[in-house]
């Protein structure tokens, strides 16, 4: 009767309350009937539809038009069919940027999820005082406005008197005085990665920690009494319950990191952004909006939408199918 993903501890709990198992089908089916779900999703649908309906239409319409500043003022574009898509897809810069962004996304998402989960587990292990301190620190990190965070990072990585160079030299990692962290694309984007991961960790930590809160103590204790080591407890009891949350966080991280704009734009600086360090977010902004080529920008937006959908489809599919197991 129990679903395949619920571990053995659940069987114990189930056995303890046999009456409930017989009651279950009756209760749920009564609720399942009716138009209730439609009413539940209506407010969300209405809000999103009212605000985003027109922008979505605009985006699709513009991707098939030549729409620059002149057309913006005239409120009328010139239809050009697939020309915008064609010009973007034939542009080698687009493909280089895409590859660079995919690698960048994988690195960011991987680091964020791993470090975030480890920290969430750490939160469980420390005493409550440290826990509150650490979480408050994380929330402060999370709450820093991007402009300010970037500026502090710029100070820290300044090649003249940055803290990072100072510390690395003092710790005898070699002489890092006057090391220019923005000299090469790899170094530049690594810094952007560090900045983004640093800013994204708090969300993962708080969410995973909240997920851990849903793991029933009884199940854990039952498994421990059975003689399971901490790693097995984690694997068999905790991970299955956290699975949907991991899937969500991963899919969200992929989506956000693929299209990230603010951090690379501010950290690298508008004067230093060029085709050698474009990421999809900065590429879209420069090619579409900075140059006032709105039609092209719309085409790139749609292509980005397709790309990120492709990247995250595995995770999204798993999430969508999740409730079918039940």
């Amino acid at each position: 009767m129990a679903s395949s993903h619920v571990p053995s501890g659940a069987a114990l709990a189930a056995e303890a309350a046999p009456r409930l198992r017989r009651r279950r089908p009756l209760t749920w089916s009564r609720v399942l009937r009716g138009s209730v779900p439609y009413w539940l999703i209506l407010p969300v649908l209405a809000t999103v539809g009212a605000i985003l309906g027109y922008p979505l239409y605009w985006l699709f319409k513009l991707s098939f038009e030549r729409y620059g500043l002149f057309e913006l003022i005239q409120h009328k574009g010139v239809g050009v069919g697939w020309a915008n898509f064609g010009s973007v897809l034939h542009d080698p810069i687009f493909w280089h940027t895409l590859v660079r962004t995919v690698i960048f996304t994988v690195a960011n998402v991987g680091l964020t999820m791993v470090i975030g989960t480890l920290l969430a587990l750490l939160l469980v292990q420390v005493s409550s005082v440290i826990r509150v301190l650490l979480t408050t620190g994380l929330v402060l990190v999370w709450a820093m406005p991007p402009v300010v965070a970037v500026q502090v990072w710029l100070w820290m990585t300044n090649y003249e008197n940055g803290v990072l160079n100072y510390i690395l030299t003092k710790l005898h990692f070699g002489s890092y005085l006057q090391h220019d962290w923005y000299a090469s694309t790899f170094s530049m984007l690594s810094l952007v990665t560090a900045l983004i991961v640093w800013g994204a960790i708090p969300f993962v930590v708080v969410t995973v920690y909240a997920g851990l809160a849903q793991v029933p103590g009884e199940l854990v204790e039952a498994a421990e009494i059975d003689g399971a080591r901490p790693w097995r407890v984690f694997k068999d009891v905790t991970v299955p319950i956290l699975k949907p949350i991991f899937l969500i966080l991963t899919s969200l991280s992929i989506i956000w990191d693929f299209g990230v704009f603010t951090q690379p734009f501010l950290l690298i600086g508008q004067s230093r952004i060029d085709t050698s360090n474009y990421l999809m977010g900065t590429y879209l902004y420069e090619q579409g909006y900075f140059f006032h080529d709105f039609g092209r920008g719309a085409a790139i937006s749609i292509l980005m939408l397709l790309m990120v959908a492709l990247l995250s489809v595995a995770y999204v599919r798993k999430m969508v199918q999740f409730d079918e197991v039940r």
Binding site: F70, L72, E160, G269
Partner: protein
């Protein structure tokens, strides 16, 4: 079941249709203006709020019943906001535009034609060439020059005194001063003249000083002109000067770090930049700071400085163009310009120019090609890339200028 399915899709479709239809109706025309909206940059709010106040007071006296709503904008986002209003309505009546931002919008037809009213604006006959050029497109006037800023050299009087140097009168003199300064201070990171490698505002001054230009317009097309012998000579002179005088990053930009920060930390004996740099040289060197005009390669002549500045324009969709023009008239009147001058800016007309270092530097100036796509060349960092490659030696001057010139020709001529 099926009915519900149909109903839910109909609902979503209806929502999209409603929001689209709502967005398609024509905008209701504004009631006759009892208020005009003015977009000024935040520089005015912190720099000369008194001028704004007196202008508003004078305007309201002349037009009782009309109020002025001054909304302060920030440089990074004001164009994005302007674009949104151009698309959706609600354009300001007066907008401050950077002089390099004007051309694109003039070409797109965003502004009202002010040519018939040109003579009604104070000192319009002697407006600064650099500003007037930025407000003119296809022979018509679309903006009123507001104020300008030039580039000067801010220097350490104590260090110069040590090597018994006075303000140089030629590039050669300046170079020898730089050499002496370096001999006196052997620290690796010390710059006799701190320059960031890709500071194209400074580097292009050399090009113009040697008689070259960035691009020319002939027979209906733009032609990148950095491949001319004069331009190349200018860039060669820039490279020579940089190698002697600056330890700044060859690929770095002129805002990171800020030159005045380098100066304040004792990392430079001179820096090149706007005159207001003297504000931020730090407590330590405040009393030993002064400025002179950057000398050109011909003795006695200053190097043409990039003339930055702002213009005031009236968007076409303004609710009342004549009121808008009136406000601008008062704001840029001779009295207004004198107030701006007192705050350290360069006024908009040659007959108002005083003798400050800033204003003397403005006597010889250059401006970017007034092409509608020029902004794309700037945003594409074409010149910066060229300078970085020249200074690091990755490309010879010949190669780098060819690449950049072709790029410029392509970008400027794009429809």
């Amino acid at each position: 079941m099926k009915a519900r399915y149909v109903a839910s899709f109909a609902l979503v479709a209806a929502l999209v249709a409603v929001s689209t239809a709502a967005a398609r109706t024509d905008s209701p025309t504004r009631a006759s203006a009892s208020k005009i909206t003015v977009w000024l940059q935040v520089d005015a709010q912190t720099g000369w709020p008194d001028l704004v106040a007196t202008t508003n007071a004078a305007f309201q006296k002349a037009h009782p019943g009309t109020s002025v709503d001054v909304q302060y904008q920030t440089w990074p986002d004001h164009l994005g906001k302007f674009d949104a209003t151009l698309a959706g309505g609600n354009v300001p009546d007066v907008i401050e535009m950077g002089n390099t931002e004007m051309t694109k919008y003039m070409a797109a037809g965003a502004f009202a034609n002010l040519s018939p009213d040109k003579s009604s604006f104070a000192n319009s006959r002697s407006w600064l060439q650099g500003l007037a050029a930025s407000s003119t497109f296809n022979g018509k006037l679309y903006g009123v020059p507001y104020y300008a800023g030039s580039r000067v050299v801010t220097y350490r009087t104590d260090l110069y005194r040590k090597i018994k140097a006075k303000a140089p009168k030629s590039l050669a003199q300046f170079t020898s001063i730089a050499r002496k300064l370096r001999a006196k201070n052997g620290k690796r990171s010390f710059s006799p003249v701190y320059i960031a490698g890709t500071d194209w505002y400074f580097a292009m001054s050399f090009v113009y000083d040697y008689g070259g230009t960035i691009a020319t317009f002939s027979r209906g097309k733009w032609h990148g002109a950095l491949t001319s012998p004069q331009a190349r000579a200018g860039l060669a002179a820039y490279k020579r000067f940089f190698d002697v005088a600056s330890r700044g990053s060859k690929t770095g930009t002129e805002d990171r770090p800020q030159p005045y920060d380098v100066f304040a930390q004792g990392g430079a004996a001179s820096i090149v930049g706007p005159a207001w740099f003297s504000c931020c040289v730090g407590k330590k060197y405040k009393t030993v700071t002064n400025q002179f005009v950057m000398p050109g390669h011909k003795a006695g002549q200053s190097m043409p400085g990039f003339l930055g500045g702002s213009d005031l324009a009236v968007p076409k969709g303004s609710s009342d163009q004549s009121l808008a023009k009136d406000w601008i008239r008062i704001f840029t009147s001779t009295a207004g310009e004198k107030t701006l001058q007192a705050k350290g800016n360069i006024p908009n007309a040659t007959n108002l120019l005083g003798n400050s270092v800033n204003e003397r530097a403005a006597k010889r100036s250059w401006f970017v090609p007034t092409a509608k796509n020029w902004v794309n060349v700037e945003n594409g960092n074409v010149l910066r890339t060229m300078l970085a490659r020249i200074l690091t030696g990755k490309d010879s001057i010949k190669e780098a200028t060819s690449t950049a010139s072709d790029n410029i020709t392509l970008t400027l001529n794009r429809p």
